[in-house]
Structures are given as structure tokens and as C-alpha cells.
Symmetry: C2
Subunit: 600 residues, 2 copies
């Protein structure tokens, strides 16, 4: 573990800046329209309508999923991050209006959830297993912290604190308090953020209570709750006994060695576990996190960073079970894994965490959203056969085309908030080292040993392997620069300082240079971006006889439109010399690969 | 079309006689225990208990599926066929007792269905879409005809006629009659049997009414019925609008060119369509049958004769969609396809129909039942991974081991009745030809042009290709002998009469010899039984890079227990010289195949 110092980062150009601009200019306004049910041909959200009803602003009945509030909160969080890049009065006004509605909807005791406020407030906290009240407050916290950090406005933060204070009154180990925890984990990691901002220990304690209580009680809380409710449940699950593995409460968190159940819930929980482990230095919890991390990334993750092998329960199945067609690989699940990776990297600075973050950013996050910023994948399959998606019910969940919105639309605002906060995942700065974990054009501004350090990064990834760092200093300063050596890099990278190749130490997957840096030092780091034919572990039965084509961080896709019909008949020659050529796909200039042998 | 003459056939020895003995000695008694809920560790049937409650013999409430009666009826049908082989007073007494219970349960107007009689008789005929009343009566008819033919006892037949007379009063084109038809087809083919036995035209007309009405009405009967029922349905389907393709009532039967929907319902209906087409010589209906036959067998059938590519709806999906792991391939569906093949062969004597019957008998019917006669597959997959069957919900329906019984147990008694009536599928006799369609040890007794003809067949299939026919005649007789040339036969078969090879004409896949036969003529027919490596049409995406190993009619199975773990890694060398060796598997002497290259 190490202490991470404050760093200000801004993505200022290049490949990823286009996505950030897309989020600012298109995604945020588009999603606001979606949340207001104003997108023609898209499934309505009802999120803002529900809030207005709860705030007694209009009359009507609740619509949509029980967790509809959270889509709005994630959108606020995303919007808040974008204010860092571009001040936007209209956007702030919209968020402030929502804050006013939330303030009006919030009950005097702090309770806030439109589903129960609109439907039947006497039922609150009676179905933790299904009804997502704590989950929604988690996203409210994240939104309010982001908005506070961007604008210093504290109305939303105060609403969050009031809501959480109420939760502290209701939940806990004291007699008369509920010993329950969220059916869908999320608030645990959010509470850590609230603790970081407010320094109020009780928020940390509440997060710990939720994490450490889970799976320790006997009889299980959800099963008792279900019985108390006359076996009534949400989602048409009446009479179906809660499955404890689905909710990761089958055993205490210490004893969870294998990722199971609903994959988003799982990785959100593991993220909070890693947060708590870091703060409390709980060695047992650190070990549990490491085991879960290894299990997922070595045995339950697709090559794209997708997780969740089945749509039934949106869940993990078992080690090496990686069907390509009936896969789930929900966008949110990979985003959760990205968060988990980030928190693991705060526990130990190893390149494997940044490798997975990069894999997910390229192959899930931006792949799940169309270049127009208005269409999204919820499920990210490895194999799509449009006819099967339409005619074979086991593949109905796999959409061959990105959709404008979803009745359950957790993924689109999740993509928006990750892209808008991408600057958080590029660098980490400790007392003696600047770690460059993602090769993304950006400007770093930090301080080590009272010396101000600016680094301007320019990266040609994902298309080429040249990364250039301009070190800008007020005075010469000694610190270590640690550059991630990507997992897909197949030759030893070349590191040059001011045009001269230098040796470096390799530690935990980073190339480390320790020197006294001068102002205007230029670092050139060259990694190998070329085609690699990737094979699965043969225990992945569905991939026997199959390969994937990777180039740099990108997993390539073979489509009938570019090749021939019945693409499944394609055979990859292992000795192919790939022709790399440039092509414009939806205004994005990409490197496409051509098998020379198949070119006439 | 041709006139089929009466033939008496008995299976008297060899490979199949063992299965018939198993059915007589084990399966029939075992299933009787199952129907009486006396099998420990098996899901209860409730079929006889429900009947006893309906007959006011005991008190209680209805249990099990809405169509539980049909399991009992199929068992009676199977038991009735076995009486041909072995008289059995105890068995007859059991059936007669059931007949008495049925007589007591039957309402004065003829209505008979334990689900509605026990639960609420006022609801009868109000949910044709889901509730299987007509389906159950169909199986009652088949049982009663079989029992009447075996014993000449007519109590069951009279119960059937009374039940059907009631149906004739309720359904039909007359004003005030219901214009509905079965949600699950079955009675249509059964009514043809009842017509054949009773010669009562109204039963044929009722069958035609059900077939010809289907899909012609507007608005659709099931959708109107569903609305009338306040959108209430069985099977937890409330509010789900009936899907017309699922029930094959999306268009009139004439316009059905592609097999769709629930696969058992589909093939039972096509069987009745072929029956009616034969009887009425309806050319349009004959063409519809041929198109459906071609569609199934060329584009929607697994190499084993399995049909139904998805468990969701137990249904067909679309052409060339043949997943091996999420497959359904219900035993009953292949039995229905066998019946359809049989009826198609009555329309035109082509070997392809008998080929499919043979394929299903070897690879589904006997494969679905354990050698002990007490364990069954409902789903017959091409690929089984026990861990996935347990841990990946998309494969939960695929059982790695045969089960003692099922809550929905349509398949086990269906296997019993097909095996017990196997003698019906071996020969067909026309005015000038004896067709030998299945190579099964048996004795044929028939008459052509007033000459009695006996043929004793001895076949070494499936292990060897030698088939011997002893022709036993009272006097020399001219007739054609037509021997099926199996689809898997790869060299021209050898045909010898009295030890001397002779030439033959090949027509519609049969080797035909036209001669004046003498008593004790011996025919030797030699077909090639050797390993063939089978490849799918490449449009079957899931089979690209895969082959099947077939030897004679049998599709071979590769199992970890005989080979190595992670069997999916197995590679078949196309130039392998297979070593054929004998092995005892559960007391069955089988030919197993060994790849010499993999033998150390």
C-alpha cells in the first residue's frame, strides 16, 4: 500500500479527447432527453417524471424499474465531471433544478427513493433484496460528490448526507436497527467517497457494516425478509427463494474466493472491499480481494474484459465457462471491474490492474457506445448472429445493433460517467514516483516533495506504439517515472530520454527510471503495436480451434459486411502477414487488418 | 399413394427383441409404479391419484401438470402393445381397473379430463390454448384402440367414443359450436386411428375440422380466448399473449412451409396432416407435408434425428440453427418425427422416410433410455458438459445423467409405446411388393394375391451389415421384394439369392427384386457398416470445424471416461484407420471405435 498524492489531470487532445467531447456535446444532452422521455423510438426512462411525482410537482404513478432513480444520478455524476472540461451554465441549471426536486421529494427524516415515496412509503426498507433503495442512494452519493468537487455547490451533497444519516439511523449493529444490507451493492463504495469528502467516520463505518455483515448472519436476512413478505417479490419472482450466491451473501466476504452471482453486484462489492481493505489495512480482506481479482481475470473474464457468462441472472457461471454467443458481458459489469481494478491498483501498483482498465476502456466502454454517442450495447457479445438474436430465444438478449435506450438503462449513463472521469485513471502519484498507467494524451499537474511537476503526454495508441512525455518543471527534481509495460507488448519497449536510449528497471510491470529531471526533458517510450494471434486456455471449451486477433490493446472484430457471408467459415492462417491499412469508420480513422492471402 | 395390406409382424430375436423384453419385463411395471408415485427419489406423477379423485374413489386435490392424464394413457397404449408378445393377466387386470376408474370419472355427457373434473368443471373448454383437454383425449383414443386391437375388449374404446362424441357436439362449423382446436395437437392423428377402427366418418371429419380450421380464423381463436379469460393463462404465462407460431396456427396448414414453434405439437400435427392427405388425396395438403418434411430433415434436424433447437418454448428456431449445447431435442419430438416419417412413407414409398425412422430409433429412442429401462433423457443433447448443466442456467435443461422420472414426464411412456409397437415400422406390403424398411429380426406374415407369404428376417445391424431373409411359402408366388438401401451405405449393396449374387433395380432408395419366389428361398443382403466421418452443411455455424462419427445407423459419442479430460480438445484425424473392438456397456455388447494413432 502506498499513499497516493493529489494530481490534477486533464485530457487535452487525441484519441480519447474525441470521446470526451462526444460525451460533453452529445451524450450528456442526449441522455438528458432520454431521462425526460423525449427520444422518439426509444424506451421511456420515466426517471425525471418519477422524481417530479415524488416531489409533488406533478401527479401520476410510478413507472419503470424500481431503480430508475439511479439512471438520473449516474447522469448527474457524468455531467458533473464534464464541468471540469467546459463550464456550462445550462447544464448546471439543469442539475440544480434536479437538486431542488430531490430536496422537495426527500422526506423530513432524510429518506429518498421515488419508488417507495410514490407507491407506498410504509413499505420502505421491507424488500432490501430486490428493491434497490440503498443502491440508488449510492449513486446519489457519487453524483453529489462529483458535483461538489466540480462546482463546490453543496445542495446535492447535503441531500446525500441527510439520506445517509437516515440510513445510519435505520441500519447497524445497535439493537432495534436493521441488520440488513443492499440487495444490489453500490452504496458501500459510494460511502467511501462520501467519507473522503466529509471525513465523517460514520460513513466509513456504515460501509464497513454493510460489507462485513453480509453473509455472516444466520438465518440469512434476505430469506427472512422474503418469508416476512409472504414470499412476495419484485420482478415476477414471487415464491422464488432468494439465491444467496446471486447476491454474494452466501458466505462472509472473507470467505469469498470465487466470483459468483450477479456480476455487477459482485464487482461493485469487490471495489468497496478493496477500498475498505486499503483504509483499514485489513490483511484478510486484502487477500480476499486478491483471490477474487485473480479468479475473475484469470478464469472468468472474456478477452475483451467482458464478465458474466449468462444472461439468466446477469451472472458469473463458473471457471473457464465462456460461451461466445449466449454470453452476457454487461457494459456495467466491465465498468465495475474497471473500478475494482482501480482500487486494487491503490492497494498495490502492479501493471495488471492498469492492463485490465485499458482492455475494458477500449473493448467494452467505447465499443458499447456508437460513434454517434446515441446508441448503446447493454450486452457485449463475442459472437453475434443477427438471425439467432431474432429467432433463437437463448440469444434474444444479444442485440446485433446498438439501441437508443433501454427500459433498464443502467449502462448508457455508466459509460458517460466513466468517460467523463477518465482523467482519474491515467496517473498515480506517490511520494517519490509518477506512475503512467494509461497512455492517453493528457496534462498532469502534481507535486512531489514540494516540487511542482507537469507532464504532457502524447500517445499514438491504440494505432501506433509511440508515447511521448514532456516533463515541465520549475526546477530540476528527482523522482521516479514509472511507465506501464502493456501486457500485449511483445518486444522489450524502447525508452529514450532526450533522444538517447536508456536502460530501465522493470518492476511490477512498470519500466522505472529514477533520475533528476530537468525542465523540458523529453521521454520517448516505444511499445510494440502489432498483430498478435491470441489463443484461449484450452479449458475454455468454446474457444477450442478458435483464435482472437489483437493489435495493441484492441481486440479485432470480423464482420460479414467486410468479408463474406457465413463468416463462421473464416479460417485464420497462422503465418499470415497482415496488411495494415487505414479506414474511416463512422468518422473514426482506424487501422484495419487485411489477410494478404485472401486479397485477390 | 398405394394401398397398404394387412401384415402381421413379430419381432422374435436379436438386438431389438432385447429392448422389447426390457419394455415388457421392466419398463411397463416400472412406469406403473411411477404413475402410482411409488418410485423413491423420483418426481411424483399423480396421474393415477388424480384419476381416482376424479372417479370419487378417494378425496384430494389435483396435482401435477394439466396434461397428467396423458402419461397414463400412453402407458396403457404401450402396455396394450406388449400383450401381443406375451399375455399377461395382471397387466390386463390393471388396465381394466383403470378403465373402470375412467368410466366412473367420465361425465354423463362423455366429458373426460381429470384436471377440470377435479378442479372446476365449469371452466372446461375455456382454455384450449394451454390446457390440453383435447390432447389428453387423443392419447386416450390411441390407448383404447391399441387395447382393443390386442384384446378385443371394448370398454376403453367405448369410453373414447363417448368422449369424442361429446367433442363432436361441442366443436365444429355449426352455429353455436366452438370453432377452436387443440393448443397441443395430438387428437387429430388419434382420430384417424379411431376412424380406422370404427369406420365412423364423423371422427375423420372432426380430425379434418381441427386441421383445416387452424390458422384460418380471424381474429385468432386463442387470442380471443385469452382476452375472454382476462389474460389469465396456465404455466405462469398470465398477460403473455399467445404466440401463434408456437402453436402452428399463425397461417392455415396449407401455407405452412417451415416448421415452427413447439416441436412436439408441430410434428404431431404434420403426422395428422399426412394421414388426412392420404385419406382425402388432398394434393395441396400432400405438398404442404412434403415441404414441412424437407424443411425439418434438411434444415432443422440434428444428425441424431433430434429436433427443437431451443428449450425456451421447446421449439424449432430457424434453418441451420443447430446449437449442440443449448439444444432441446426432446425425445417426444423425435418420436413425433418418427410418426410423421411413417405417415409420409404411406404417401410415397421412399427410403428417406425409413432412414429417418431408423436414425431416430437408434440415436434417440434407445439412447434416451438407460439399459436398465428405468432412467430417461428428456433432452438429447449433442454436447454435454456436466459442470455447465449444473452451473450455467442456459444449460440447466441438459441433464448429464438419465433421470428416474420427471414432473413433466411425457417422454418415458412415449419411448415405451414406440418400442412396444416397433413391429409396425418394419415392413409394408402392397398389392405386389413386400417392402423391408427396417432391418430388425422379425417374422412377417402377409398375403399377396391370395398367397400367404412368410418372411423370417435376421439382421446383424447395427454392428454388421449382413441381413438374411428366409422366404417361406405354401406355394411359389410372384411378388417384388424391396430392400431399403440405407442412406449411410457407401458401397453398392450385395444382394444374393440362394447364395448367388443377383442384379437389382434401384427405385426410391430400395433395391427391388421381382421374381417368382420358391419356398425356402434365402436372400442375403449386405450393406456397408463402416465408419463414416460426417460433416455438417457449413451453414450450421456451430459445427464448423467439427465432425461426427457415424458407423452404420449409429452416431458415436466421445466421452471423457473413455478418453481423457477436457474432451473438447479431441482432434479427429481424417485418415485414421479405426480399430473396431467389442465392449460390454451395461450388459450390451457394442462395437467401440479406437483411433489407432492415439493407442500407445
Amino acid at each position: 500500500m502506498y499513499k497516493q498524492l493529489v494530481a490534477n489531470v486533464e485530457i487535452d487532445s487525441g484519441f480519447w479527447k474525441k470521446y470526451i467531447d462526444l460525451v460533453i456535446d452529445t451524450v450528456i444532452p442526449y441522455q438528458y432527453e432520454a431521462l425526460n422521455d423525449r427520444i422518439e423510438g426509444a424506451e421511456p426512462s420515466y426517471a425525471i417524471q418519477n422524481l417530479r411525482i415524488a416531489a409533488r410537482d406533478i401527479e401520476g404513478k410510478y413507472n419503470g424499474m424500481v431503480f430508475q432513480d439511479s439512471d438520473l444520478y449516474k447522469w448527474i455524476e457524468a455531467a458533473a465531471y464534464t464541468l471540469k472540461y467546459k463550464s456550462n451554465d445550462i447544464l448546471e441549471k439543469r442539475i440544480d433544478e434536479i437538486a431542488c426536486l430531490l430536496e422537495k421529494a426527500q422526506l423530513p427524516d432524510g429518506y429518498l427513493n421515488t419508488f417507495y415515496i410514490v407507491n407506498d412509503i410504509t413499505k420502505r426498507w421491507t424488500n432490501l433484496c430486490d428493491c434497490h433503495e440503498l443502491y440508488c442512494i449510492g449513486h446519489l452519493i457519487e453524483a453529489s460528490v462529483a458535483y461538489y468537487e466540480s462546482t463546490s455547490k453543496d445542495k446535492l451533497l447535503n441531500i446525500s448526507c441527510k439520506a445517509v444519516d437516515n440510513i445510519c439511523d435505520v441500519f447497524g449493529n445497535d439493537k432495534d436497527k436493521l441488520k440488513g444490507y443492499p440487495g444490489h451493492q453500490e452504496i458501500e463504495l459510494a460511502l467511501i467517497k462520501l467519507y473522503n469528502v466529509t471525513k465523517n467516520e460514520k460513513y466509513l463505518e456504515l460501509s464497513k457494516f454493510f460489507i462485513y455483515t453480509r453473509g455472516t448472519e444466520n438465518p440469512n436476512y434476505f430469506i427472512e425478509e422474503w418469508k416476512k413478505n409472504g414470499k412476495k417479490r419484485e420482478f415476477g419472482l414471487n415464491d422464488i427463494k432468494p439465491m444467496l450466491e446471486y447476491n454474494q451473501c452466501h458466505v462472509p466476504v472473507y470467505d469469498q474466493k470465487v466470483a459468483v452471482g450477479h456480476s455487477v453486484r459482485a464487482v461493485y462489492m469487490y471495489t468497496a472491499m478493496a477500498d475498505i481493505a486499503r483504509i483499514t489495512k485489513d490483511e484478510k480482506l486484502i487477500n480476499a480481494c486478491k483471490e477474487l481479482w485473480d479468479n475473475i481475470t484469470q478464469k472468468q473474464m472474456y478477452i475483451t474484459g467482458g464478465i458474466g457468462s449468462t444472461n439468466i441472472g446477469e451472472a458469473f457461471t463458473f471457471d473457464y465457462d465462456m460461451p461466445n454467443d449466449t454470453i452476457y458481458a454487461e457494459t456495467c459489469a466491465s465498468i465495475g471491474l474497471l473500478l475494482f481494478a482501480n482500487r486494487m491498483s491503490l492497494l498495490e501498483q502492479k501493471s495488471e490492474y492498469a492492463d485490465i482498465i485499458e482492455k475494458i476502456l477500449y473493448n467494452i466502454v467505447i465499443a458499447s457506445m456508437a460513434q454517434d454517442g446515441k446508441h448503446y450495447f447493454y450486452v457485449n457479445p463475442l459472437e453475434v448472429f443477427p438471425k439467432a438474436s431474432k429467432l433463437n430465444p437463448t440469444q434474444f438478449h444479444v442485440k446485433p445493433e446498438r439501441q437508443p435506450w433501454f427500459g433498464c438503462s443502467c449502462c448508457p449513463p455508466n459509460v458517460a460517467r466513466i468517460l467523463a472521469s477518465l482523467h482519474k485513471y491515467i496517473y498515480s502519484v506517490t511520494e517519490d514516483t509518477v506512475y503512467v498507467s494509461q497512455f492517453i494524451d493528457s496534462l498532469l499537474d502534481c507535486e512531489i516533495a514540494a516540487n511542482n511537476i507537469n507532464i504532457k503526454q502524447n500517445s499514438e495508441l491504440p494505432w501506433k506504439g509511440n508515447i511521448k512525455l514532456n516533463v515541465l518543471l520549475k526546477k530540476a527534481s528527482e523522482f521516479k517515472l514509472a511507465l506501464r509495460i502493456p501486457s500485449w507488448n511483445i518486444q522489450k519497449p524502447k525508452l529514450m530520454i532526450n533522444g538517447k536510449e536508456i536502460a530501465f528497471i522493470e518492476k511490477n510491470g512498470y519500466a522505472i527510471v529514477d533520475r533528476i529531471w530537468e525542465n523540458n526533458d523529453v521521454v520517448d517510450f516505444e511499445v510494440t503495436v502489432e498483430v498478435i494471434i491470441m489463443e484461449s486456455n484450452p479449458l475454455v471449451k468454446k474457444n477450442i480451434g478458435k483464435v482472437a486477433i489483437q493489435r495493441g490493446p484492441l481486440i479485432y472484430c470480423l464482420e460479414e459486411v467486410d468479408n463474406f457471408s457465413n463468416i463462421n467459415e473464416a479460417v485464420i492462417n497462422v503465418d499470415t502477414v497482415w496488411k495494415e491499412t487505414s479506414m474511416d469508420i463512422s468518422s473514426l480513422e482506424v487501422v484495419v487488418l487485411i489477410d494478404r492471402k485472401s486479397v485477390v
